[in-house]
């Protein structure tokens, strides 16, 4: 990388009970999040969960119905986006089609009347950082998707703003390019040290890039945690099934042999945590087997619950066969059926019951 004098420090963002309501529909429902300065936070969730609305409220493009938004400790709830000192990359890139790449990148600097010498200097740095040197005179229409993406990134970072927002920036790229850009965006964020809020519906993007993942569902916060915590200790059944491919298996207690008392709970075990075990607590019938190369994915049924098991290719399972399945006690997740919350306090008790 070239000389790095574009560095800056990020600002923290705090959302306090933020809501967005349109008539009868509540897009975002009393959401509270804390985003640390200089961190990479991913807003993750299925379509229509309110993640883009949340980002647009932080950007000041969407009115806040209730609650407060603080940036760097200052209340910005009523401020227009131009006064929030942040930059944004749009899903469609939103490049100005009539301006050249160079003009697109320095647009904000021109608006803020930064002198020509400094503008050119910063443009040179950003262009070499993103490999856009050869393309500065082109119009956005003459660029490929990946190049347009870089221009949008350049426009976002040249202003040296403490916060950068991104709204599904990689969704228009092909798989290979998406992987490259993921690495590049993460490196850029760490190098420049700004606070990143990144909206995505792709759990892989969120898990691989973010320091903190904010998982939303129907406008509500499901869980805000680091990627490891989110995978290893999901707070709700939704979080458990949203993170990980294939999703975590959730069983009623009837699926386990020798378990009678705990019908108030959902019991979760990840497919990759299960193995063939002649003494295991689950008796299941194999429905179908998918060969994935590195391992085998078996669709099974136990007590009318279908679930998936990831097995090494060395184990030969065939459709229609009865199998016994087991797992390490630490791999068990327990969720309260009534409240939907994680119940770590009863894991030991249930584990003991399964072993007996």
């Amino acid at each position: 990388m070239t000389d790095n004098s574009l560095s800056r420090s990020g600002k923290p963002i705090v959302l306090e009970n933020v809501s967005r309501v349109w008539g009868d529909t509540t897009a975002v429902d009393s959401l509270s999040i804390e985003i640390e300065a200089g961190s990479f936070t991913a807003l993750l969730g299925p379509s229509g969960c309110g993640k883009s609305t949340t980002l647009r409220m932080i950007a000041g493009l969407e009115q806040v119905s209730a609650g407060r938004i603080l940036i760097g400790g200052a209340d910005v709830t009523q401020k227009p986006s131009s006064q929030r000192d942040l930059s944004m990359v749009f899903q469609s890139y939103a490049l100005f089609p009539h301006l050249s790449v160079a003009e697109n990148i320095v647009f904000g600097l021109k608006v803020r009347r930064v002198g020509r010498a400094e503008r050119d200097e910063r443009l040179f740095k950003v262009a070499s950082l993103l490999g856009l040197d050869q393309l500065l005179d082109r119009k956005p229409g003459q660029l490929s998707g990946g190049q347009q993406q870089r221009v949008a990134l350049g426009r976002a970072i040249i202003g040296e703003k403490p916060i950068c927002l991104m709204d599904e920036p990689l969704s228009n790229l092909d798989a290979k390019l998406r992987h490259e850009m993921r690495v590049e965006i993460r490196a850029l964020q760490q190098q420049l040290g700004f606070t990143m809020v990144y909206v995505t519906h792709d759990q892989v993007e969120a898990i691989t890039m973010a320091d903190q993942v904010v998982l939303l569902n129907q406008g509500r916060l499901e869980q805000a945690a680091g990627p490891r915590q989110l995978y290893e200790r999901p707070a709700t059944p939704f979080a458990a099934r949203f993170i990980g491919t294939p999703p975590m298996n959730l069983f009623p207690s009837a699926a386990f042999n020798g378990l009678t008392s705990s019908c108030d709970y959902h019991l979760g075990v990840r497919p990759e945590a299960m193995r063939l075990d002649a003494n295991g607590p689950i008796s299941a019938t194999v429905r179908a087997v998918e060969y994935l190369g590195a391992d085998v994915l078996a669709d099974c049924v136990a007590a009318n619950t279908s679930f998936q098991v990831r097995l090494p290719t060395s184990e030969t399972v065939l459709p229609g066969v009865e199998v016994r399945l087991g797992f390490e006690p630490a791999a068990l997740h327990v969720f309260d059926r009534a409240t939907g919350h994680r119940r770590d306090d009863v894991v030991k008790e249930i584990g003991a019951e399964l072993r007996s």
Binding site: A59, S81, S82, M88, S92, A94, F96, V111
Partner: protein
């Protein structure tokens, strides 16, 4: 394929083209060519048939004071109507493109003048301009105590009064094009500019207006053609008077041809008008083409 069937296809093709071609030739091409030919002949009168007189009609035109006067009037009329109606059209389009209560009603209201026939419009404005009873005199008399004024009868103000009517008539029509163009501009461009710190004014001049350039070119060409083409209201409002103060080129051609029956000279004036319009259209395309961004 045999020669016979090729020929049949050829006949079919021409038969399909025929209806449109008949009308195009009858009402556009043949009259245009005839006009050009007539401009080199004298006007036939009674038993005396038209004679070839070369460029005599053109010499007469160049020394005709009325021709220069109406040409000059037409220039002022174009300068007065085109920028004003385009600016108004953009302003109205921006206004009704925003979220506002009763938006569709306002859109319809702006478009109404376009729907009305120009003759009807002229009659309405005739009432507005009537000395002492008219709307304008009533308002200015009530508010400022101004005396009655004859806007249409005064050589100083007659052309301006007609310019006002034309702008009122045309702005709503052009607004429709701008409204369509505005709705084709993605909102995210405006949002991106806002986030970069641009105010409303900057967003308009740096983003919206440049992206409207193809529409402005189209509207501009139409407005120029209209400024030479639309003369109906002059017949109602001023009849070209007083002292040709409000006569335009096409109005003068009509007078020469169908009031004075100087058909050859009218043909000459028409050729002049055609040449002028072609030059303007070509010029506009060349001038704007470098500045217009097409998607």
């Amino acid at each position: 394929m045999s020669r016979m069937s090729i020929k049949r296809e050829w006949v079919h093709g021409w038969l399909l083209l025929l209806p449109a071609m008949v009308f195009l030739f009858a009402f556009t091409h043949i009259p245009a060519v005839t006009t050009l030919i007539n401009s080199f002949f004298s006007t036939p009168r009674g038993r005396r048939s038209a004679e070839f007189i070369g460029l005599e009609n053109y010499q007469e035109m160049l020394t005709d004071d009325v021709f220069w006067k109406v040409l000059w009037n037409n220039l002022w009329y174009a300068i007065g109507t085109i920028p004003l109606s385009i600016a108004l059209a953009i302003a109205m389009a921006l206004w009704v493109n925003d979220k506002l209560a009763g938006r569709s009603f306002v859109r319809m209201a702006y478009f109404t003048p376009t729907v009305l026939p120009l003759i009807a419009v002229a009659n309405i404005w005739m009432f507005f301009y009537t000395p002492s009873f008219g709307l304008f005199d009533q308002i200015t008399g009530f508010l400022f105590g101004w005396p009655a004024s004859n806007y249409l009868g005064n050589p100083e103000t007659a052309l301006n009064a007609i310019i006002v009517v034309t702008v009122w008539k045309e702005a709503g029509f052009f607004m429709i094009f701008y409204l369509a163009a505005l709705q084709a501009i993605p909102v995210s461009l405006k949002e991106a500019a806002q986030i970069e710190g641009a105010g409303r004014w900057t967003v308009f001049w740096r983003i919206t207006f440049p992206l409207l350039m193809p529409t402005t070119l189209f509207v501009g060409v139409n407005a120029v053609i209209n400024s030479f083409r639309l003369v109906d209201h002059i017949f109602i409002l001023t009849d070209g008077g007083p002292d040709n103060a409000s006569a335009l080129l096409l109005f003068y051609i009509y007078e020469v041809a169908f009031r004075f029956w100087e058909t050859a000279y009218a043909a000459t004036l028409t050729v002049a008008l055609l040449v002028l319009l072609s030059l303007l259209a070509i010029g506009q395309f060349f001038f704007f083409d470098r500045k217009v961004h097409y998607k």
